[in-house]
Subunit: 212 residues, 2 copies
């Protein structure tokens, strides 16, 4: 009888449909950014803090065949962003418009499918992931997002941009937590940063790449 | 002392650099095909037998905004391919030129990096993969290929094509082995298949998609 109940429970668990999920509040990792028109390719390290609404991105990439580096700290709570120039220890501070959008699969997203990347034939050979499609905030377009079934860790993200066509983000080497919290505070030499006010457009995680 | 040796051995194992590898001889799974110019998108189930040099592909996709289905069996040993039309139980047989290219990372490929897809922070959250770049057979161009560290199971493959720009293959739900061996034999109604001989170009796994 006990075995039957156990089997029933197990079947219930296995039969559970994937549900929209929230990524861990703190994440540190790397990502690559590539675009359909090949204008932009970048490799970035990131820190993500959805409680403090802070994102740090340190990018190295090529844009129109020229290499660039870009180091930016987004502080949504205080509505400001810092462009950090480590080579000469200077900063540019800008107003940050737009809301913080946590890494979530929105409740109204549609499940495209649950699959195993790699293989389920041996240990360490596969990763169970869910792929979702839905609408970007502010009707900015569609997204296609893949996250791990266990932990809701981002794997990849695809969305259409104005300037580049489709843009693909691939996340890797993610760890749950902030490895170096100092990366999420403005460096000491940013205290007296030159402030570039402006009537610029709102900056969010997506438009950051689009505006490059 | 024993502990030291053990620790030394463990460190040795962990420090091992990824080496070019051969995928399992038998694989069954699914893949998606997408192209940079968005002309072609397809979902396919595949069987792969590198011992018998046989590949079966059953595709469903869109090409220039029209849906298509394509069911093909490639028999390299007997240098023939069958296009299978299940709906009316008929076949078209064609000569298959070109050599069978097993799924391998060639020995002269360069390691781009070893990363964890997802996260290493929890069980079932991550997948250790190696990404390699190198030259396609017959100087057909460059490839970028990602396989699992354990098992050398294909995860994704990117290469440049004549007609579509970059083409991306994503493999998933792979199992080691051939789930249904009958899929790798011509159906009974193909015995007297009409043979379309021709001075066509060689067909290989890659050009199959390019020719669509």
């Amino acid at each position: 009888m006990k075995l039957l109940i156990l089997a029933g429970l197990l079947a219930g668990c296995l039969a559970q449909k994937p549900t929209p999920c929230k990524s861990p509040p703190f994440l540190t990792g790397s990502l690559t950014i590539s675009t359909q028109n090949e204008n932009l390719f970048a490799y970035a390290k990131y820190e993500y803090d959805s409680i403090g609404q802070r994102i740090r991105l340190r990018e190295l990439g090529t844009y129109e065949n020229k290499t660039f580096s870009y180091d930016v700290l987004l502080l949504y709570r205080e509505a400001s962003m810092y462009e950090i120039h480590r080579h000469n220890r200077s900063c540019t501070k800008r107003p940050l418009k737009g809301d913080f959008h946590p890494m979530v699969i929105p409740k109204d997203a549609s499940l495209l499918g649950q699959v195993i990347l790699g293989s389920s034939s041996g240990p360490g050979q596969g990763l169970l992931v869910n792929t979702w499609t839905g609408d970007l905030p502010n009707k900015a377009g569609k997204f296609l997002r893949t996250v791990t079934e266990f932990g809701c860790v981002p794997v990849s993200s695809l969305f259409r941009t104005k300037n580049f066509g489709w843009m693909a983000l691939s996340y890797f080497n993610n760890v749950i937590g902030i490895v170096d919290p100092a990366q999420l505070d403005p460096p000491s030499y940013c205290q007296d940063a030159e402030v570039k006010a402006g009537d610029e457009e709102p900056v969010d995680f997506t438009s950051l790449f689009q505006k490059l």
